[in-house]
Amino acid sequence: MPHLFFALSLIALALMLAVVWQASAPAWKTYQREFHRLESVGEPNALAQNAMLTTPLDIRQVLLPGLQRVDRCTTCHLGVEDPTMKNAPQPFTFHANLAPHVPAKFGCTVCHGGQGLATGERGAHGRVQFWQEPLLPKEYIRASCGRCHKEGEVPGVPELAEGRRLFETQGCRGCHKLNGVGGSIGPDLTEEGAVRRFPEWLARHFLDPNAVSKSSPMPNFHFTKEQARALTFYMLSLTSEQMGTYYSSVRLIPSAGYGRQLFVEKNCIACHSIGGVGSKSGPDLLGVTKQHSSGWLDEQLVNPQLVYPGSSMPEYDLETNARKAIVTFMALATAEDARSILSRRARPLTAQEAAIEAGKQNFARFGCVGCHGIQLQGGVPNPNSQGGEVPSLLHASDDYTKQEVIKIIQNGKAPPVENPKKPVPPLYMPSWKNVLSEEDINRVADYLWSLQKKRDAW
């Protein structure tokens, strides 16, 4: 009896030692030792070298409560901020162009993806089951810029702006909701960047939806590779990041391009001129950054009355970085910019033209083109509906009066079914009366009517 007990105790002890041994040799310790060895080579004397080699090994962590993340990537990726490691092998390689996104304030995973909590390679790179944010491939990393920088442009990442433009003009909202506006036929895309961070899937999806999503009623928009890429970038940026105050305060990029966008949005040319081109009500702005400090200009944008009491310049409620952007634009704005801004402004429209133009904008913005086509040609397959596809709107006036069309837009319409025994057609006309005002719907009808093909005279 005691022999058996003793033998079993030895086995238990052996198992305990096995557990302890297993726990004391994680891979990251090997990487850290190797890195210290590499670093010690660059040290000037034996004492410093020894100090480097005997640096204690521990898990390194960047706590980011403002981004609700914890990143432990630097446990292995020790050389990201060390320029002498430019040619070192991974995981020690130096990360160029980090500023202003220093690891201490931003970590790594918010741009690169991956599982920041992990300390092993596979787990940390996120390519494991049950982790929804794997490491992004190199060519898609810049899509992450759009996770925080949602307004304006991001210098160096034109794909984001292009993706957003395509989304708004190709009619995606007809079937997909984004931030509460859009149709319910396809999935809501407001958090698409959070739930589906698989760029290869997204790109293939845009090139041919049915190849990746078998029974999807989404039509093939025949996007080019570049367009699919831009849309993929845009999708990846659709996350709702919880950002602490520091991050929300620096979110807007004060670039000249954004400044120009704001200049146009706020219609500054209505009162100001640049190099003589523009309106004469307010002062000319050419070279204004040489005459006044940026602090003075900033104050002017915040509180125009302070500097010029009685000024008719309105108070714009602009964030710090938005004001910075405008000032940045002012530093390079020329008369040429003013001319180009003026020429883009629409010439005054008649009331009729304005209504049709507004209707056209609505038609694109709310996604009607997604099913009915940019030229109203229809043709999107709708299995088991009579006719088998979404109808063209070019002959709507043959079958309906304008009032009937307005009613259909307001209340929606299920397509007539071809074969009652087969499944109901997946695409239908949704009801828009809760989304669009009566005026907006009337304008859409005006736009449609302006495009009706005249019936051939018999």
Binding site: L8, A12, Q22, Q68, Q115, T119, Q129, F130
Partner: protein
Amino acid sequence: MNPIRDAWQSIFRRDPLSTDKGKSELVFLNVWLHIHPAKVKKENLKVKHTFYLGFITFYLFLILVTTGVALMFYYRPYPPQAYQDMKDLEYVVYLGTFLRNMHRWAAHGMVICVFLHMCRVFYTGSYKRPRQFNWVIGVVLFLLTLGLSFTGYLLPWDQLAFWAITVGTNIGSYAPLVGGRIRELLLGGHSVGQSALLRFYVLHVALLPSAMILLIMVHFWRVRKDGGLSRPVWKLKAESSAKLVSIGAPAEPAFRVVPASQDKTYGLMEVVTGKPTFETVTAEEEEDTVFSYPYAFFREAIALVATVISVMAVSLFWNAPLEEMANPAKTPNPAKAPWYFLGLQELVSHSALVGGVVVPALAVLALVAIPYLDPNPSRRPADRKWAIRAFAVFALVNVVLIVIGTLFRGPGWALVPPWVHIAGAE
């Protein structure tokens, strides 16, 4: 006067273990060990009779308490942090993965062993008088084990946990009249959320373990007072076996007085003295007894070390699962309860009220009633064929239902062969 010897003897007051007196005193002068008798009958030690399942279940419970307390140092029972702490245990805490594995596999082991222990007690007829109420306490301990396992299942706050508990609490809500209220009390709300996590945590680390420990104490005490561990009395010599096998037979008075041996009297705190009313050790059986130390203790110690080794070995090689973080908006298909409730879920899929409430309630009531309804005074298996067959069927039905629920049910709870999909939530 040797001061060192004095100091030693002030702590360890017994005689040396080489003496009989010392062996006895080790048991009855020691607060931790005196649940044992100083001497046990040899048949009490038979492995093939009890398989030491009761001990193993208890040891698994001890492993669970130890590893559980260790894990408590690194776990916060609030929804987003709970999942992060599970990841921290996996990646950052020294021995975190190992301890979590120990805890999970010991938990599964305990549910299995407590069930097997119940089967064994039935098979050896050890629930018969005077041990009926101890069987009832055992059933309550079984239910507490399931409750502890269920409350602990939610704590990782991953998809597996969240939906298993959603399904489990919904099954419970089918109970008539009180079902909805019980579910509301458990969840602290209408659905599984941060209140549910906190309540389940309190139940899991404080309330249920306290109840468990108290009832275990009663359970062990009763075993001792009822004459010690179960032994195959039908295998003893004919006359004594005849006497012992038919304890409390209906034709005889409720308490059968056994003639006391001449050398033994029993005193109870010098207030009551008297003769024994249940079993006593007769002169013949005296030869069949051995000292608890070392015979019983070494066997129990071996069972303990063997249990620990098994759990450690499994924990070294198999990791407890952790799926993605709980997402109320995304239901896995199929959503399955923890495995020990899958039999229940299978029944519920056929009928919510009958399957989910009536049948399980009747099953528990029937279990509790077994010792009181059993008319057969004999413990010999040969005399109880039909009882044993009936219980075997009951056990088998449970196992089969769980197997069906685990391996044969796929998306939409449709029947699919086990090789088509992976068991459990996707």
